[in-house]
Structure formats: structure tokens, C-alpha cells
Amino acid sequence: MALFDKFKNKKKDNVPEESNELLVKDYEESTPYEATQIKDESESDELKSEAKSKDGIFDKFKRGLSKTRHNISNKIDTLVKSSRKLDDDFWDELEEILIEADVGVPTSLELVKNVKTAAKKNKINEPEQVTALIRDEIKTLLETNENRLLINEYQPSVILVVGVNGAGKTTSIAKLAYRFKNENKKVLLAAADTFRAAAIDQLQIWADRIGVDIIKLQEGADPGAVVYDALNAARARKTEVLIIDTAGRLQNKTNLMKEIGKLRKIIEREIPGAPHEVLLVLDATTGQNAISQAKIFEEVTGVSGIILTKLDGTAKGGIVLAIAKELEIPVKLVGIGEGLEDLRDFSAEAFAAALFTSENNDED
């Protein structure tokens, strides 16, 4: 049971900085971080934007991902330091560390194989040097898919948010809305989850707190009607970003999947070129089923990006690697806390770096 002892130790280290009270506080003391970053992006000064966002993202990522790092990088560190040579045991253990992070068997095997090949090619025999190789490998895998939200060029920009039950769609939407609001964008929410009890109320409460408009019908109404109304309202009100909340649905429910396919068609028909983003919300604690989710939602609604939520627990988020490799759907945003500002752009650089940064540099 040594493993579970390890878990215990980790828990002690991982007392989260925020409590639930911060929900409101965070909202009041909003940092200009996101706004700055997005503005930078809209300028064509790529370098400047890179430098600035790297700074901000890097630190926040490190903080938010500290648990992930505890789990993966510390183990890799331990492994590297305790191994004297690159033998089969070393590679097996590396594979295990990745699997334990929900990376999945095929992706883990391939990662290890690639690192092994690279080590051979570069005549690396020291376990310590392997760390850099693993980091590069993970970065490469994620970077090819890295992407930003495509919302600035369109008016209204339409974001359709989809996912299974309990992934965190409504909360993520609130965070997104808060972010756009801070960029002084005109935001409209559409409460198209007419199924779950009080889902509309939940979104309404967020809309009130953030101070954005919402389009809703009564519970049990046709979600298509809500979307239609919202699209019209968005055009009439000169909304810049319309975010559509949908009911959670398991990807194997054919009828519900058809329904959401229909929602997409309505959007396409009403606003040519829309939806500009279809974001799949994935719970970071999800295991291999996340791949099935991404695959089927992609088939039905054409997923343009993933929001990976709940990375502030002990969940390791390794599924990101598997999804990047097997489906090439970019992860665009990560949820790393309960505060409204705790939704970050996903950065492969920061993600890979944060995984391998040692604990001591944490609070710099």
C-alpha cells in the first residue's frame, strides 16, 4: 500500500489556496490579466503577446497545476534520480507514471517509445537527461494542436458549449462570460439546457452576478427555440459574443446527440459561418472515456476545441495527451479553480514546463 501512502502525503501538500468564499471575492477583485492578454493577441504584435502571456500564464499554470506536477513530475524526478541506467525497469516505470496520469495505454507506449528512440539516437545514457526528452515529447504532442479561441473577427461570435453531464459546462460558461465581460465585450448567454432541473436558474444566477444578458424559455422548452431566439437577439442587440449552454448528455444517447446536431444546424442556418467555436467541456478526472466523448461529439457537432475542467483536484489531466494524439482536437482552455477568473488559455509550453518544474520555484 505504499502507493496510497504517497497519495496521503500529497494531499497534505495540496491544500488549495482558495475557499468557496472567493467565488464572490474573485469576481470583485478581478485581475486585468485576461483582458490584457486577449488585447495583446488582437494586435498583430505576436512577439509581444507571446512574451506577456507567457509570463502570466506560466505562473498561474504552475499554481493551478501544482497537483498535476506533484503527481507526474515528482514521480519522474524520483524515478530519474533513483535509476542508475536506462534499463527496461526504467522504461516500464516511466510508462506506468504516464498511465497513472490517465494518458492511456497506447499514447503512453508511444511516448515512451519515442523518448527511447530519441535517447538512443542522441546517445543519452543518463536517466537525468531523459527528463528533457520527455518534456519535449509532451510539448511537441500538445503544441501541434495548440490553438486560441476564434472569436474576435465575427459579430456575433457564436460559441456552442457541449459535453456530458456534470463536466462543468455551466460554470465554464460563467467563467468565459466573465472573461469577455472584462474585455468590454457585449456578451449574451443562451440557456438551452431546458432539461435539467434548475439549470436555467443556475445560468441566470451567473448572468446576474457577472452582469450579462441571458435568453431563456421555460423549463422543458425546445432547446432549438431557445437557440433561435438567442441568435435573433444577438443580431438585434449587436452582441459580440453569444455563448450557448446546452444540456449535458452522454455521447451514446443517440436521440440526445441528434438533438444537439440539430442545434448546430439551426446556428449554421441563421448565421453563416457560425458556430465559430464548438467547445467540448471535459472533466479532467475522466479516464479513457474522454476519448469516446471527444470522438462522438466531434462527429455530431464538429468540436473546435476542448475546455478541460477541474484540474485543481488531484486529477492529472493526462487525457489531454491522449486526445491530442488520437483525435487532434486542440485543448483551448483549462479550468483550474472555483473562482470566476480560474479559466485559462491552454498553453502546451506552460503545461509541459509546469509538469517538470521543481517544487521550490513554485511561489516566485
Partner: protein
Amino acid sequence: MAFEGLSDRLQDIFKKLRGKGKITEDDVNAAMREIRLALLEADVNFKVVKDLVARIKERAVGQEVLASLTPGQQIVKIVHDEMTALMGGTESKLVLSSHTPMVIMTVGLQGAGKTTTVAKLAKSLVKQGRRPLLVAADIYRPAAIKQLQVLGEQINIPVFTMGQSNPVDIARKSMDYARANNRDIVILDTAGRLHVNEELMNELKQIQAQVKPDEILLIVDAMTGQDAVNVAESFNEQLGLTGVILTKLDGDTRGGAALSVKAVTGCPIKFIGMGEKLDALEVFYPDRMASRILGMGDILSLVEKAQANFDEKKAREMERKIRQQEFTLEDFMQQMQQVRSMGPLQDLLSMIPGMDKQLKGMQGEFDEKEVYKIEAIIQSMTPAERRDPGIINGSRKKRIARGSGTKVQEVNRLLKQFEESKKMMKQLTDMTGKKGKKGMPMRFPF
């Protein structure tokens, strides 16, 4: 995602072995690797997988597999058995205490499905003639209280709310309310929280101290990956869980989290959530879950049949006889009848995934008519002949052949086959005897 079901993959490995007669350590290792991968792909925690595979291997190298013509199938059965045992063997129900009000507290991560599950639970308790009270103790998530109220209305069960008051107070007052209003079960819907959030975990401990729940149920999303062990361990350590409810099993996840959670907490999984409707709460059956995790189709029915028809006592008696060289034609026939009682061989074989395509090649070995003949021959013998085939001389053979409508050559062939299988059994028992594996019934000794 290229995982097609463990039984298929094992079948492939063992296909090569047919005719080799002996399974080597390497063969077993290859099979264990497939099992390991299958379990990992199903999201069983890798530590749990390690332990499980070690146990399976120990059993697999024993006589059970060696004695079987279809080792793949046998290994799958061992895997299935071990998983079922790990998940608790049989189903486990809620402990409904007689004192009122009884208290059920639900806990879990955000988005696991607590509120929906609480409503489902209440509904199922009403069906059992109980009078539950739902308590809205999630004061954090916007509209969580409203959600419970709406659900309560749908199933016509009262919901106790106190707005955004301290959840500990809400819990305490709800007890008074239940007593005053003759509700015999209080079900607390608490806020979703991270197991590493000390403050919120303390809140749960305070509620626990206040209302002393009879049941503390952890609600776990069936799609949870490797992290399930951390979550379950942590909640269990801090609160002392009495059970687990696995939600969203109507999805296409294999649900390996079930194994992980059971393995680290030792708590039984009591219910599973099978849909969005409020009556979609079902009793958890470990054996079915094992099949699901393994990705097995009809193999379950096969295993069920085998279990239903194989009398454990008879099997042990048989084993004793084999060990002591007392195995007779009578026993031989009994064994055959036991296998046959599971249904036509063709049907049995087709239940094994991946076997259909091989059926044609197998027909020589498993000819149904051949089995009938053997039965007829043995039935035409006298009890003395069955016990001691050595006394069967030429004229006895002629009589047996006439009685069974066969030829003397066929009687000869059966007697020879019987002698050979006796020899084989002797070898097997000698071998396994050396390894100290005792008490394992022989299941397919022909």
C-alpha cells in the same frame, strides 16, 4: 480505443497453443499482459491492476487452465471471478435502521451526480414504504437548492431548505423537522467538493458529528479515471464511508473506477445510476460489472451457465477420485453430462466471443453425435464394467456394441480414450501436487 474485449485477445494468444498440449510460463505471461492492458484501458487503477493480475496469474498457472481445452476461456473466467470477488461478490443493500429518523449523507466531487442521485434514492425508498425527507445542504452551487426542490416536487417528496445558511445548521434543523413531520429517513444532499479542500472537508466532518449518519455514501462518476483511488481514499479516510453509488453507467464507459474504488475503500458499491429518469437507480451486481469492465458480451451467460450447472461438491469428489486413481467410466459420463447440461456444445462455443469463426475447425473435436455415442456405450455397460473397465473382454464388448448400436471398434476407441485421459489426469495431479495447489476442482477433465 482499439480494445475489442479481453476474451478475443486471449483467444488469439491461446489459438497458437492448440496442439502444443502444454502452456509455458511465457504463454501465461503474454496472457497476463493482455489482461493488464484490458484493465488499464477500462480505467482500473494501475496499482489495483497489479495486485489483481498477480492473483490471476497465481491461479492461472494452476491446474484449472492446464486441464482445459480452451485455456483462453478458462483464464477469462478466472479474471471474471477475481474481479467479482474484489467488488464484493454479491450485491449489497442499504442498511435500513429502525431508529428514526435514519440519516443518509451523500458526498462527492462536483458534477458526480449527487443531487440527481439523492432524488432517485428517495424515490426508491418511497417504493419500500419509507417516508424520506430531502435536505438541501449544497449552499454553494448556484440554483442547487432549486434543483433539489424541483426534483422533490417531481417525485412528491418534501425538501427541507434553509437558504444559504451554514450546512451544519441545515443538517441539524432538518432532523428536528423530520421528527416533527414524521419523516423516517433524512437524505442530505451536500455540495460537491474536492477531496483536497480541507475547509470543505471539515464542513462534512462537522455535519457528520452533528447528525451521525447511518450511511455515508460516496457518489462517483463511473467515467472517472486513475484519480478515482485518490478521491475515494480521501473521502473514506476523512469520513468513513459506508457505501458507494456509481453514476452515469448508462454511458459507454467500461467503469473500471468501480474496481478501484472498492479496492481502496473496501466499501460496497450499493447502487448504480443508469439514466436521467428518476427511477434509473439500480442495485449493483459485481459479476455484471466485471463483465462490463472486461468488455465481454455473451461470455457472461456462459459463465452463468457454468456456475449454475457445475456442482462444486461433485467437482471436489471428482478431484479426489482423480487423485486417488478411482476415476471410473461412470464418473466420466457424469462429467460429460454436466457439461452437456449447459446446453448444446455448438451454442456454448458460439457464446465465446471470437469462437464463431473457429467453430468449423472445432467440429471434429466437439462432435455432438460423438458425445451421444459415448453416452450410449457407457450406458450399455453393467455397473461393474463401468467401475472396472479391465473386466471388459471380447464378448462383453460385442454385447455393449449391440446394446448401444455401435461397433466393437467404437467401444474399443472409447476404452482407449478413457485409459489415456486417466493417464493424463494422473500426470496433471502429479504435477500440480508438486506445486502444492490443492483444493482446486477440476472442471473440464475430458
